[in-house]
């Protein structure tokens, strides 16, 4: 337990339907830059499975937003949560502590379900 008081663990969970993400990608792939960071867009990529990456990213953002305890007031709120996508052996998204985000968050994806991706966020 850290000194100075009890630790606080925040949890957030979200799921996105792959079909919905596929439609979204089909209609709006040229607009992603207005909403996602360069790193996030690079993660989504352009291949046949880009919509699956997009689904995971959106679910991860929403899970992180829920874990932050903020109230949803429009897409801009969770657009401001910039995720570092998984690379190499790291299998989770992360949000670093910053002046805007007082917590370090890890977001894990479950993609075994045929229709949905599920994101689970743990914030400490």
């Amino acid at each position: 337990m850290p000194s100075g008081g009890p630790s606080r663990i925040r949890l957030g969970i979200d799921l996105i339907e792959f079909k919905k993400a596929k439609d979204f990608y089909k209609h709006h792939q040229n607009r992603l830059a207005s909403f996602f960071s360069e790193k996030e867009i690079s993660y989504i990529g352009h291949g046949a499975e880009a919509y699956r990456k997009l689904a995971g990213l959106l679910a991860a953002k929403e899970a992180a937003f829920k874990a932050s305890g903020k109230t949803w007031m429009g897409p801009e709120g969770f657009a401001a949560i910039r995720l570092t996508p998984p690379t190499g052996k790291k299998n989770f998204f992360s949000v670093k502590k910053s002046s805007q985000s007082k917590e370090a968050l890890k977001i894990f994806l479950t993609q075994q379900h045929k229709k949905y991706v599920v994101a689970q966020c743990v914030g400490i």
Binding site: K20, T71, E76
Partner: protein, 131 residues
């Protein structure tokens, strides 16, 4: 130049497509989240479709007044203050603030977003653009 009825028709169609909902069941009073089940991806989808259809740019924070939540005058102890409700009324006059005011929890605010709110926003924005 868009007439309001044209805007209502287009917005209804856009929302029906984005949410895979029956157009006939969408009214100006329909809450995007509470009645139509909109999620975060849907709001993004709707904003992008609106921009494309009406050939406009919707700046961040303009359609959904998110910045209000960071203003200490308008939010206290997880509730919207009276000043906050007045501010919201000025920005989203078509919403049902009477019901919301009975229990003005910040967490309930998303349920206030209605189809009519989007129509009113567009009508004003397009009117300014066409002056």
């Amino acid at each position: 130049m868009y007439e309001k009825n044209d805007i209502i028709k287009s917005v209804t169609t856009i929302i029906a497509q984005a949410l895979r909902a029956d157009e006939k069941k969408i009214t100006l009073q329909s809450s995007l989240i509470k009645d139509l089940g909109a999620e975060s991806i849907d709001f993004l989808d709707i904003v992008f479709r609106l921009e494309k259809t009406f050939k406009i740019k919707i700046p961040k924070g303009e359609l959904f007044p998110e910045k209000l939540l960071t203003d200490a005058r308008f939010v206290k102890d997880g509730k919207i203050t009276e000043a906050g409700i007045e501010e919201l009324k000025s920005k989203i006059p078509s919403a049902n603030w009477q019901d919301f005011s009975k229990n003005p929890l910040v967490s309930n605010l998303g349920e206030v977003f209605t189809v009519g709110m989007i129509v009113d926003y567009l009508y004003e924005k397009l009117a300014v653009a066409n002056k």
